[in-house]
């Protein structure tokens, strides 16, 4: 109690410091699933259709990271923890990392780099078409993530470009929905999460617009 009233300057500084100190830990945690999967493959611990398991796991981690990324800003606005923004780029890049591994496992291990088959599946199978599209959208987002590139692009431009994250949320979840057989529970859960996050975002920007007009 006394700290909150008495030393505002110190509490203000502590958040970002701890957040920065914990960044390597967060990085390790986010990378851990990939390390575990690599280890499990090498030591033959994945019981079943190995490549399928890799596809499901990497795809799910990409979606989880995406949900976390999109959760970050509303959470920051809700709590006022400005330091949360520090994790945004790392999380976003982990989305790209898991999505890339996911795509490469499909193309490289599942289709074994048979180019005819890769092409056929992109053209003939809607869930692959939209999956590839999702990955392609992520590429410019990942490329424009270094500070230097972002600065050269300009704040407004960068922001507009990165709103594509919401498009990816929709296309990637659709990919998931179309890829499963009958067990649509988790794809629908992700749809609900992304819809809720998008609603929060829209509601806030409307409020901001109204406030701007009033001002």
């Amino acid at each position: 109690m006394t700290a909150a009233v008495g030393t505002p300057a110190r509490t203000k500084a502590r958040g970002p410091r701890i957040a920065r100190a914990l960044k390597p830990l967060a990085f390790t945690l986010l990378l851990a699933p990939a390390l575990w999967l690599t280890y499990a493959v090498i030591t033959d611990q994945l019981d079943g259709d190995i490549v399928k398991i890799l596809e499901i796991e990497t795809g799910t981690y990409a979606l989880r990271c995406l949900a976390l990324t999109l959760l970050l800003t509303p959470l920051r606005q809700l709590t006022g923890w400005a330091w949360l923004a520090m994790y945004r780029r790392m999380l976003g890049l982990f989305v790209f990392f898991y999505a890339t591994v996911h795509m490469l496992v499909y193309v490289g291990l599942d289709l074994e780099l048979r180019f005819g088959e890769i092409w056929t599946s992109i053209v003939k199978r809607p869930y692959i078409t939209i999956g590839m599209l999702s990955w392609l959208i992520l590429v410019p987002l990942a490329v424009t993530s270094p500070t230097g590139v972002a600065r050269r692009l300009g704040g407004a431009q960068w922001k507009r470009l990165h709103q594509l994250t919401y498009v990816v949320a929709v296309t990637a979840t659709t990919h998931y929905l179309w890829a499963v057989k009958k067990d649509t529970f988790w794809p629908l859960v992700y749809f609900a999460i992304f819809a809720a996050l998008l609603l929060v975002r829209v509601a806030r920007s409307r409020k901001a617009v109204r406030a701007a007009y009033r001002g």
Partner: protein, 309 residues
């Protein structure tokens, strides 16, 4: 030419050489005598005392790790994830078990499972198993020919199909509490398919009693068809003159047909069926027409296998 003969299809005579096979039987016999404690006496005796039986597997086929076959299952009654059936089926009660024989047959009625099995000699058969999802395995089953059970029911001349049904018991089968697919799971075979010597009713595998997650106490094994035809925990056989509608036909008719014969030239809408991946492998191997069991081809002569997928 409607049925294309695959050049890599093994001739029907290509079975495991007897010597090798006998070795395996010795091994299975050993395992079987351990299993005998749990299996009913009649089953175990028949297994140990039995002679050589044809084995449908190719020489190059290695039996898949038991651990993999019992940990990676499609059995929606116990959950949609591959690891769910093993996790959720351990307390499933497989005794007492009754199979209802119904429809166009002379000997209809309720049959306790042991009575259904007792007149037949138990056999060990190693078959390739090909899931419609393009993974596969080689599994040593134990059980009896389906034809035995069918013949004992004495189907009427009008009967052309046999429909099979899985137990419906949401209290024991948590997956049945949600409407992922139509319950109870239903499958069917044309009567001549069901009478084919390869068609098998399994009560065991790897020399032991069938694990619950693999369809205990009684499951169908039709190795030339995709895995989903191999209905588990069977409680009913119904003889009929109309082609039964299977659960997966109801769920997605464009993806899963009545015949569901393994066919590398007919793709699933979401993936190719040209190649398959053995559980535990990373690289794929070519898929064979009828899963390599060319001896069933005559059942489908004159049929368009592309339309009757």
């Amino acid at each position: 030419m409607l049925i294309r003969r695959n050049r890599i299809e093994p001739p029907s005579s290509e079975i495991t050489p007897e010597a090798e096979y006998l070795n395996r039987r010795e091994f299975l016999g050993m395992v079987g005598s351990i299993g005998a404690i749990t299996a009913t006496g009649a089953l175990a005796e028949a297994v140990i005392g039995g002679g050589a039986q044809p084995v449908g597997a190719q020489q190059a086929d290695e039996v898949t790790d038991e651990e993999k076959v019992t940990s990676y299952n499609n059995y929606y009654e116990f959950g949609t994830d591959k690891e769910d059936p093993k996790a959720n089926s351990q307390r499933f009660r497989t005794r007492p078990w009754t199979v209802k024989i119904e429809g166009m047959a002379k000997k209809t009625g309720d049959m306790p499972l042991d009575d259904l099995l007792r007149p037949s000699r138990v056999e060990d058969r190693t078959y390739r198993f090909r899931c419609v999802e393009a993974w596969s395995a080689v599994i040593p089953w134990r059980g009896i020919p389906l034809a035995d059970v069918i013949r004992r029911a004495e189907p009427l001349p009008s009967a052309r199909y046999v429909e099979m049904t899985t137990l419906f018991d949401p209290a024991q089968m948590p997956g049945q509490r949600s409407a992922t697919i139509n319950w109870p799971y239903t499958e069917g075979l044309r009567l001549d398919e069901a009478l084919h010597p390869l068609a098998f009713l399994a009560t065991g595998m790897y020399g032991k009693t069938l694990p619950n997650q693999n369809g205990a106490p009684l499951r169908l094994v039709v190795p030339w068809k995709y895995g989903f035809k191999n209905i588990k925990a069977i409680v009913k056989l119904r003889f009929t003159d109309r082609q039964p509608t299977s659960t997966w036909m109801l769920a997605a008719a464009d993806e899963y047909g009545f015949y569901a014969n393994v066919n590398p030239t007919v793709d699933h809408p979401r993936w190719t069926q040209a190649r398959e991946r053995r559980l535990g492998d990373i690289l794929r191997k070519p898929t064979l027409l009828f899963n390599g069991y060319g001896q069933v081809a005559s059942l489908y002569s004159g049929m368009d296998l592309r339309r009757n997928y």
